[in-house]
Every structure is written in structure tokens, then in C-alpha cells.
Symmetry: C2
């Protein structure tokens, strides 16, 4: 870290905006409305979006031409005036593929429908593959999934561990032995399908936002072999200056030392909270005390973050038998004790409701967001 002065100047990459971009936005606005609230007539959409009926009709015609939207017959309930022809997303037109590379020993994937329901699941054991072998396994997985899809595939979403840049290059994923793996590009050229690759915790946060019951700014803490987090501020993932946002696993917690971490420091969050560490400590001593201690440590680490960001929610993802209960309660208590009511009054802390599928479903949501602008 430097204590000097950075040279140069932030170059905010603002770029020109054309009317056609505006149209793309309005297009997504319609899709989003249909996606979230289901059937609407053209007139409903016009009222909801503020666009005129004329413009909505025009956009709907375009979307119907692409097979994304279909007419569903006339409105049922009797009202004065001409009966409305209802529209909806053509939910039987496409399927999504979501991939989760974050588990320690398995690559998971699934075919999902547009509502995020899992249709077919595939798991391939990793068996300590790294580098090119791991990449080959990913390709085998997506090939199996593409073959399993019963409808055209809208796109493939991938949640990968490690640092992932905006172009879907895995900049660094030590566990998989990837240094600068252009995963998105490789999958796209192999499949000839749109692919989106992002960090697993960010993807999980997106899942919670799309399919969970979360409002407002959200942090998802993913506890597994390591500890990572994904942040969703104003509905948008935060990537950070070096695509390392959410990397809180090796932040030291507390001022009283702590267990030695693989990174060489004492008292890293990961040394307190990672699943293997928890299991080992629980085997050695009072299980409940171990969980309470881990929960407190998580709370200590999260308190400043909650204060700085004024989060609306924190969601924990990981083995429920470890996290849900003593640990979660200790975290909640600790955050409450270490922040002002102004801050923790607005905060909801809870387990995810999406279970093990969280990354797979988030990856699918990412495809919807990238391809349709739906989030």
C-alpha cells in the first residue's frame, strides 16, 4: 500500500448514447415488467411504464417477432370497453444454463426455465483437476447441459471462484489453478452461445436479489472452503478497483490474535469461519461455543461494513447445520452491539432460502439480466 499520491485522473468512461439505446432500455423495461408481474395487456404496460400505447404496441410487435413475448388470449374479468389481449413472456421459448464452479470437489450445473426453476441437474466430480483439465471438465459439463436442454438456450451463466473481470476472464482462482483464464470467451467460441462469467459470491448475491425476498442494498456472505462475499448496491454488483470486492476472507478480526491462517496471519475471518476450520474446532471442543465464537467474529467483521454501506440486508449462504442457529444469532447480536440503532435498525440478517442451488440459479439470473435486461 502506498501512502503517496496517485498520478493521473479518474477517466470515467462515459460514452455517447443514441436513440436506439433508449429503445433498448424501453424494450427491457417491458420485458422486466412482464417478467416480474406476469400477464399484462399493451395498455397495462403503457400505464405502468409511462410510454404511450402506440410505442408499447410497436415494441411488443418487435418482441413478438423475436418470440420473446406471446399473446395469451383475452382478459377474463368483464369490464366496460374493448377486452384486452393479454401478453406474457414466452416462458416456453427458451431455457437457461447455470454453472457453479465454487464447490471444493464438484462442478455443478443445471438447465433452468425462464422463471429460474431447475429442470435438469448435472454434477461432475472435480477429482483435484486444475488448469486445463479443470477447463476441459467445465466444457464437458456445459456440453452435457446443452444436450439436456429441451428448448433453445438463451445463454450460459457461470459462477466461478476467484477474481473475475468484466469480460469474464478469471484473473485468479488458486484452487482451480487458473491464472488468466478467458473462460467466457472460450465457452462462447466452443458453444456459439452467449456466455456470462462472474465471481461466485456476486452471482449468489444476484440470485438472492432475483429469487429471494430481498429489498435494497444487499451483501451475501458465502461460507464454504473459504469465505467470500458479494455486494449488490442499487441492484448492481460491485466489482471493486481490482475485481476483488467481497474478498473479506483474509481480513483480520478482533484485536486478540486468533487461529493461524493459511495466509500466514492470525485471526483472519476465514480461519474462524471456513467450514473445515469449524468442523475441526467443533470436533475438538464445545461445538456450540465454537459456533457462537465464529458468529461473533463474523459480526465483528461485518459491523464496519454495515455502517459504511448502510446495508438493507445480509444473507448467509453455506451449510445450514453450521450457520443457521447459534452462529447466525451470535452474528446478529454482535452487529447489534457494535453499530448504532440507526444502522442496524434497518438491517435484516438471515440465511438464504435458495440452498445449494444459489450459484446455479444466480448464474441463470445473470443470463436473463445480460440478454433481456431483466433483473
Amino acid at each position: 500500500m502506498s501512502t503517496g499520491y496517485a498520478s493521473g485522473r479518474a477517466l470515467r468512461l462515459t460514452t455517447k448514447v443514441l436513440p436506439e439505446h433508449a429503445r433498448g432500455h424501453n424494450r427491457s423495461l417491458l420485458l422486466q415488467t412482464l417478467y416480474r408481474a406476469g400477464m399484462h395487456s399493451r395498455a397495462d404496460l403503457a400505464r405502468e411504464t409511462g410510454l404511450t400505447r402506440v410505442t408499447v404496441s410497436d415494441l411488443v410487435a418487435e418482441l413478438m417477432g423475436e418470440g420473446l413475448v406471446v399473446e395469451m388470449g383475452q382478459r377474463e374479468d368483464a369490464r366496460p370497453g374493448k377486452p384486452a389481449t393479454m401478453l406474457d413472456l414466452n416462458r416456453e421459448a427458451f431455457q437457461l444454463i447455470g454453472i457453479d464452479l465454487s464447490a471444493a470437489d464438484t462442478f455443478r450445473g443445471a438447465v433452468l426455465d425462464l422463471d429460474g426453476r431447475t429442470l435438469t441437474r448435472v454434477e461432475l466430480p472435480l477429482q483435484d483437476r486444475t488448469g486445463a483439465d479443470a477447463l476441459a471438465l467445465v466444457i464437458r459439463l456445459v456440453d452435457r447441459l446443452v444436450a439436456a436442454a429441451t428448448l433453445p438456450v438463451l445463454g450460459v451463466g457461470v459462477g466461478s471462484p476467484g477474481l473475475v473481470d468484466l469480460a469474464g476472464v478469471v484473473v485468479s482462482a488458486p484452487n482451480l489453478g487458473w491464472g488468466h483464464e478467458p473462460l467466457q470467451l472460450e465457452l462462447e467460441t466452443h458453444l456459439n452461445l452467449p456466455v456470462v462469467v462472474a465471481n461466485d459470491a456476486n452471482v449468489a448475491a444476484l440470485a438472492e436479489h432475483s429469487f429471494g425476498e430481498s429489498e435494497g442494498d444487499l451483501m451475501l456472505v458465502k461460507v464454504g472452503h473459504g469465505v467470500g462475499a458479494g455486494l449488490l448496491l442499487d441492484g448492481t454488483p460491485l466489482f471493486g478497483s481490482r475485481f476483488a470486492a467481497g474478498e473479506i476472507g483474509h481480513v483480520v478480526v478482533g484485536t486478540d490474535g486468533g487461529p493461524l491462517c493459511v495466509c500466514g496471519k492470525h485471526g483472519c475471518l476465514e480461519a474462524w469461519l471456513a467450514v473445515p476450520r469449524l468442523e475441526a474446532a467443533m470436533a475438538d471442543g464445545d461445538a456450540d461455543a465454537v459456533l457462537a465464537q465464529a458468529g461473533r467474529r463474523l459480526g465483528i467483521a461485518l459491523a464496519p461494513i454495515v455502517g459504511a454501506l448502510d446495508l438493507a440486508g445480509i444473507v448467509l449462504s453455506g451449510p445450514a447445520h453450521l450457520l443457521d442457529g447459534t452462529l447466525l444469532a451470535a452474528t446478529a447480536d454482535t452487529i447489534r452491539d457494535r453499530t448504532s440503532p440507526q444502522i442496524h435498525g434497518a438491517l435484516a440478517l438471515r440465511m438464504t432460502t435458495l440452498g445449494e442451488d444459489i450459484v446455479v440459479r444466480g448464474a441463470a439470473a445473470m443470463v436473463l439480466s445480460a440478454r433481456l435486461g431483466v433483473s
Copy 2:
């Protein structure tokens, strides 16, 4: 804090976008280019922005009509082709007013030119005024400043302590006795000028971004009577779920107790770091040890935030004789010891270069951003 499930669903307020909004964006793009890089010809602007010369000419005509842009004569250096007529922001067309309400005993303000240079400064002693009396003092201050301006005033920016919402309502500012003060609206109706009101630390962060040497995501920590922070992610201020982002003053630091805070907790960041606390502690004991301790505590609080956000920079604002030196160095050391190199390697920690004017200048920058889209 609830550990239950939030009801409802995030309603991302996406709204329709019309071609005229696109034009507004392109307009700002031109202004921004001129503001930051100075003189350009129409053809230069076209090359820089990707718009065509035709479109640029059209937009420039509009901007010249409003007096925002002026022709500066022909390009000096001889090149083949028709000589270019240079354009620039009309820097002598408008002035800005910036107001800082964050000091404990004084309301400060200044008239500035478009480049953020201070032209006239006015300070009014607060003398323990609160509520309506404090509001009256703000009005007296802006009236004095408007009278002191020698050119039309583009707008008034205000940095206020406390929580400020997006409409410039001071939701809560205990020190000034404001509960729900619609400051922006009141000043606007009084002055008949555009007014922007925001939180002081956020405004300071904006100043650092606009006038300081900062790249990328930035956190500004403001140490004074209290301790607060402003975050600028991707050039945009972060407000948080309840407009309380940056409120880190009452986050408990460390696991070993600490001094009693006015809020009733022990070991709040503010109890370690606020200027009155520092001065009292230094009078009682080893001044350098006090500063080192305070710096360490700040580092402990910031480490998780830096990790979670992957910040590019942290800037300290406040009394340099306290912050710059032992304290800053201790903070830097602590962050380095408590985060992974991946995180702190990219981080620059430093004092602001803007001194006491930081909020006033940030408020002026806010006006530029709101009125011209320039940041």
C-alpha cells in the same frame, strides 16, 4: 435488527428513456470533455466522443446559445487543412456557491469560479444556534454570497452534517437541531436558484474526486467533532438504504473495550478518534502514543471495508497536525497487517490536499455535476 425475512420486493425504479434524454447525455459528454481537457475544436470533440461532426456542431450551437460554450479563435499551430475554431467552456459566464455547514461553530461559504477556485469567502459564527435560527443563518450566508458574486450564479451547493436524502431534505442533524428540514427546497424558493444539498462527507468525497488526485473507488474519512465517511463508487456517491452510508462513527473497534462514547457504547471509532477526544487524551499522556493508538483503531475499522469494497483510495480530512504523521502511518500499517496484499496492494491512503475548503469546493463540484453533468 430483524433476523426474519423482509416482505415485498425490491422495486427498481427503472423508468422510460426518451431520445431527448440521450441528447442530454451527449450534451454533458461535450461539456465534460471541455471542462476536463480544455480547448477543443468541433472535430476534436467528434473524435473524442464518437459522435459525428454534424451532431457535435448541432450540440455546440445549442450550448453556445445558452452561453455555456464560446469560440476562442483559430487553432494556433499550423497543420494541413482548414484551421479549426477552438471552443471552450465559457469560464467567465457563471460562478458557483459552495456552503459548508459541518464545522462545529461556524457556517462557511464561498463564491467559486467554474474551475473550483475560491473567489470570495464568507464565514458566520454559529454561536450555538439550532433549528430555525440555524436555518436563518444559512439564509443570511447564502444571501451574502449571492450578493458577492460578480457573475450569474449557476447554482448553490450545500454540504450539511447528518442524514440527507436525495431531495436535499436534512432527515436528521442532531447538532443543528434539525429533524426533517427541507433545506434544498427552502433555499431554492428563497433564492430562486438551483440548490443541491447533500451530506458533508459525501460532498467532501466528491471534492477529492473532482479536484484531488484520486482514481477509482474512493472513501473519504472526515475527522472533526465526530467521525464520518463518504464513499464514491464508480464516480457516484453511495447513499445507502436509509441515507446513512458512511456513518461509521459509532462502530465499535476492536475486542478489548475502549473509552466510553456519548452513545453509551465502549470503543466506538468516534471515542477513539474525534478531535476533542484526541486533544483531551493527548493533554493527559503521551501524545504520540495516543495518535498511534487512534491510527491503529481507524485501521482496524477500515480493514474490513477496504476488503469488502476493494477500494482504490482512502483520503483523510481533518486537522493535519493530528492526522498527518503518526496517526496516518499507524492506520496504513494496520490496514496492511490486517488485509491481504491483493487488497492493500492497490490501495492509496493519504491526507486530502484540499484542506479546510474541501466541503465548500465539493459543494461547488456538486453544482457542476447537477447542472452540467460535469464531474
